[in-house]
Amino acid sequence: MSNVTHRPPRQRNSPWLAIFFWVVMGITFVPIVVMMLYSFNNAPTSRITFAWNGFTTYWYRNLTQVNGLTHAFLISLEVAVLSSIISVVVGTPVAIALGRFRFWGKGLISGIVFADIAAPAIVVGAASLSFFLSINLNTGLLTILIAHVAFNIAYVVVVVRARLSGMDSAIEDAARDLGANAWTTFTKVTLPLIWPGLLAAGLLAFAMSVDDYVITSFIAGSSVTFPLFVYGAAKVGLPPQVLCFGTLIFLVGLIVALANGALSRRHLAARAATEDQIVSAIVAG
């Protein structure tokens, strides 16, 4: 009791911080709300219009009507699925090597991973195009895939390494003491423990790939991904179906994120999960 009375009086929290937070949040929600709303606008033309002409689900029912849009979306999905799988398969051993072993060139590899994340997309895109030009590789689906794997590996390494560092390496030592060889230790101990990290890394890689415009714009050749299609269409006015796709992607992404959050919370203490989401979010830069 006495130490409470000794303490200097606490200041009351002013409401301004909360008001500021919610006002800024409100502003950032404007594009989301407008996108959803106008995907239901009964526009007279096949371009989005400013006037509100009543509610319709016509654009959703005719989602695949726009020339090239569906194809672009499918290409984006294909690249995202393949590049996230490849980058998890290649990136996980790199992360384990960086997190668990000492070897020559470790600092260099860490540096490259960091530079890959920090480098501006425009430079990475331009440099990739220079590279593909100098080895005479025609730009197209293959070069998109290669470039996406290249930038996704770095994110996978960071996320998986973060998961590894939160895991006690004594567990692996114990497995080896009990006679498990390196492979058994990896498949029976390490892999099950870092599994949520791999899933988070794969989802992050998928999201980065599906949404990339700048790098892809350089090395796409004649292929068109979803962001490239939207960018091209934005100059003449978007077809309402783009907003429908945007709304659907938004909802699916949100559901996956919530489900993933719930999943990791079951496996770990809530706090660890939050930190992991934050790390993944930070590296999404």
């Binding site: 800024v24 106008y38 790199v94 920090a118 425009i122 030009l133 960018y231 939050t274």
Partner: protein, 270 residues
């Protein structure tokens, strides 16, 4: 990664030293003069584009800190643990909308016939010729909007790591709220600000999308110049030279920044 990240950066340098034209192709001639041609005697003001991009980068970074810090502070110190994750998810919500769509939605909202400007005009707050799109403010606004979360999250992580007992100790030693903030909280969150600056500044300086969708002729950035000289004009050597210079400039700025405001905790944060 070595193959597809580091080697391309070097090949960018090599391509910049080639000469030729889009029709007959390019050959390597170690043409170092390209660098002086682009910046000293050039018909196209690349230096202006560089300076403009750096200005957008600096303005966006500073304004992002001023907006993001109170938001991160609110989540870290003013809400209960239960609400922290949901609020972080709200901060990230914009990322669930495709980058190009959400940026273009702003150009839709802020257009001359969009509801913001027509509303302001009807209320006689602004004149007939008032416009937002095409201005530097629109581009900087778009950059802040697209990068805000990259500033909020690292600052939040840094604030969250501060041991609450230190704040109690400061109060017990009769610091007022202002002193606790400026002498304890702010210095301890320096690593978070550093990480945020790194992410936001680099992304903004190289970005071609916000200036293309929200800007106009007066907001042409180096990102657009690199993209156009590669994809529209097919001046591969020019584009490669510009992107090499951009990389070097950003490298120098970030290195200097790290030396001046040096932080040891960067590895832990990123």
């Amino acid at each position: 990664m070595l193959l597809f990240f580091l080697i391309p950066l070097l090949s960018g340098l090599i391509v910049s030293l080639e000469t030729g034209n889009p029709v007959s192709g390019y050959t390597l001639t170690w043409n170092w003069h390209i660098y002086s041609q682009l910046f000293v005697h050039s018909d196209i003001p690349y230096t202006t584009f560089f300076l403009r991009s750096l200005y957008y980068g600096v303005a966006t970074t500073i304004l992002s800190i001023l907006i993001a810090y109170p938001m991160a502070f609110y989540i870290a110190f003013r809400v209960s643990d239960r609400w922290k994750s949901p609020l972080i998810l709200l901060v990230l919500l914009s990322f669930f909308v495709s980058f190009v769509i959400r940026t273009d939605m702003w150009s839709f909202v802020l257009a001359q016939q969009g509801f913001v400007i027509t509303g302001l005009r009807d209320l006689h707050i602004v004149g007939k010729n008032f416009h937002i799109l095409g201005s530097s403010s629109a581009v900087i606004g778009g950059d802040i909007y697209n990068n805000l979360a990259f500033m909020v999250l690292p600052i939040y992580v840094a604030l969250e790591r501060i041991d609450r007992r230190i704040l109690e100790a400061a109060r017990d030693l009769y610091s007022n709220g202002r002193q606790v903030f400026f002498r304890v909280v702010l210095p301890l969150s320096r690593a978070g600000i550093f990480a945020g600056v790194l992410l936001v500044f680099i992304t903004t300086v190289g970005d071609p999308v916000n200036s293309a969708l929200l800007g106009g002729v007066g907001t042409y950035t180096i990102g657009q110049a690199i993209q156009d000289s590669y994809l529209t004009n097919q001046q591969f050597n020019v584009a490669a030279a510009l992107s090499t210079v951009l990389m070097v400039i950003l490298g120098i700025i970030m290195f200097a920044y790290a030396r001046i405001f040096g932080t040891e905790n960067l590895e832990n944060l990123v």
